[in-house]
């Protein structure tokens, strides 16, 4: 149970010990204390999720349900976004490449940027909005209406039943959604290339994948598992630890989206740095 030391108590303690503390230094000590407690809480939560993932009694039915929720129900949004990203990237890049007489590089350039960066990051950001918020709001409202407590008194471990299937499903489904978005992005790019030119589909695909090597694909694909993990973990953590009032449901959903989006960008930064160092 979290215990916060009231500022007044800290001040009287400081006075007794003849320690000169200003209001600002007290406030910052309290916020640092709060930050460290929250950080420890996050790591404890992640530890509990890992322990329950690898212990007996995986909730397979719930996992499949979550795969359907995360994967199938995001297909429409990911399809539209993937197609448009490929299309826009092609339309924007074409004039520059034409100036350099390098228009034949267009398919491979778009394919590489889609596979390495645009596909995974854009898909992850969309999923951070859609999946992160839905997990935050759903679990938050379950917390507010005592459904999580009801599960506990029914001898059901809520981490095992609610959190583990969501985290595992998102970690598996987001890489698949990224592959799907990449494929539709390339399709959109072919459509974009045909607006001002006439390119055969087979030729476009041959050119697109002519320059793509295995190592363009693998590091980018691996990082998508981490995207899925952080998005679901943030959504579940925020929802599971939501406060008591109905307002906290909105707060949980909102902070899940903000934190998940930020973490996606940070994970991407680390992934790119590590890939750069290794290759």
């Amino acid at each position: 149970m979290k215990q916060r030391i009231p500022i007044t108590k800290m001040k009287s303690y400081a006075r007794n010990k003849s320690i000169a503390l200003t209001d600002t230094s007290m406030e910052s000590t309290v916020s640092l204390n709060k930050f460290l407690v929250n950080l420890a809480d996050v790591f404890l939560f992640i530890g509990r999720v890992f322990r329950n993932t690898f212990s007996r009694g995986f909730e397979f039915k719930e996992f499949l349900k979550q795969c359907f929720q995360i994967g199938n129900k995001s297909l429409g949004l990911i399809s539209v976004t993937g197609l448009i990203i490929g299309l826009v990237l092609t339309i924007q890049s074409r004039p520059v490449l034409v100036n350099f007489g390098a228009v034949n590089m267009l398919p491979s350039m778009v394919a590489i940027s889609l596979i390495r960066e645009m596909g995974p990051v854009i898909t992850a950001l969309i999923c951070a909005g859609k999946i992160g918020s839905s997990m935050g709001a759903e679990l938050g409202s379950m917390r507010v209406t005592e459904q999580i407590e009801a599960m506990e008194v029914s001898s059901t471990n809520p981490i095992k039943f609610l959190i583990v299937p969501r985290v595992v499903a998102a970690t598996v489904m987001i890489p698949l959604l990224v592959l799907y978005a990449d494929a539709l992005g390339i399709l959109g790019s072919w459509a974009g290339a045909n607006i001002k030119g006439d390119v055969n589909f087979v030729l476009f695909i041959t050119q697109a994948f002519g320059k793509v090597v295995f190592m363009d694909f693998i590091p980018a694909f691996i990082k998508t598992f981490f995207f899925g993990f952080v998005i679901s973990m943030v959504g579940c953590y925020k929802g599971f630890n939501a406060g008591r009032g109905t307002e906290s449901v909105g707060v949980a959903a909102n902070s899940a989206v903000v934190m998940a989006s930020l973490l996606v960008i940070l994970v991407d930064l680390f992934a790119v740095q590590i890939t750069d160092l290794l290759l």
């Binding site: 009231p6 379950m142 459904q147 506990e152 008194v153």
Partner: protein
């Protein structure tokens, strides 16, 4: 009464229970015993720690000190596996009902049954679901979603979900709050019916004096985290203490209006 006899009679034995939140002491050494097949009402103003008390019994909240024995098993210091075994013997009716929104009534009722009584066949599960729905008077609600139910119906289904695993002890957290007087009375009668049919011992947290009059075998009043008075309904109603009589008087005034 000998100590041995007393222990077999008490299904819950709480001694010197203390819990505080951020320096605010909510329970300051509460002791109480719940006897077999008894309806014990815990009365008190909001914020006196009534809900905290019953949440400590199922260890949704961990007490800072004191002991809680449920059917002879210590709860406060129990390991997770031991705690789960004890929880199987307790039914907890939440204030909000706490029905799972994403599941139908049938799935809500099957949820604890499949997890607590794992050896039941599909036929037995279905039979048990129908039986408890009959007992709470809502056999037609089986395929409904919780959002399609009224407040009273949600409470009844929630009660059905609690009794489906045949608990030895029932804990009711404000069972009639937010309901109209007629439905409140029906829920109070249902609590008595369940006690008679399933031979449960119950702790009922409530502010509703009509509910107290209907269900109470014994009453404990909490004030500022401590037991203020313990006794029968008649003793409470005839008590001239201003704090106690304010509960019963205010209700009488309402009735007079």
């Amino acid at each position: 009464m000998s100590t041995e006899n007393k222990n077999t009679e008490d299904v819950i034995d709480i001694k010197d229970l203390k819990i505080s939140f951020g320096g605010n002491e909510v329970l300051k050494g509460v002791s109480l015993q719940l006897k077999k097949e008894e309806n014990l009402v815990v009365l008190g103003k909001s914020g006196t720690g009534k809900s905290v008390l019953i949440k400590c019994i199922v260890r949704l909240l961990k007490a800072d000190s004191g002991t809680i024995e449920v059917l002879g098993d210590e709860v406060n210091g129990a390991k997770r596996e031991e705690l789960e075994e004890t929880r199987k013997k307790i039914g907890f009716l939440f204030q909000s009902g706490a029905l799972y929104d994403s599941m139908t009534v049938k799935e809500n009722l099957e949820f604890p049954l499949r997890r607590i009584k794992k050896d039941l066949s599909e036929e037995e599960i279905s039979q048990k679901v129908n039986e408890v729905l009959e007992n709470v008077g809502l056999p037609d609600a089986i395929d409904k979603m919780p959002s399609e139910l009224s407040g009273g119906m949600r409470k009844r289904i929630s009660l059905a979900r609690t009794i489906i695993v045949d608990p030895a002890i029932m804990l009711y957290d404000e069972p009639t709050t937010g309901l109209d007087p007629v439905t409140s009375n029906e829920i109070s009668m249902l609590i008595n019916d369940i006690q008679e049919k399933y031979k449960t011992a119950s702790i009922i947290i409530t502010h509703d004096i009509e509910c107290v009059r209907t269900v109470a075998d014994r009453i404990i009043m909490l004030k500022e985290g401590e037991v203020y008075k313990e006794g029968s309904l008649a003793e409470f109603e005839s008590d001239s203490d201003p704090y106690i009589s304010s509960f019963f008087k205010s209700q009488s005034l309402k009735n007079q209006k």
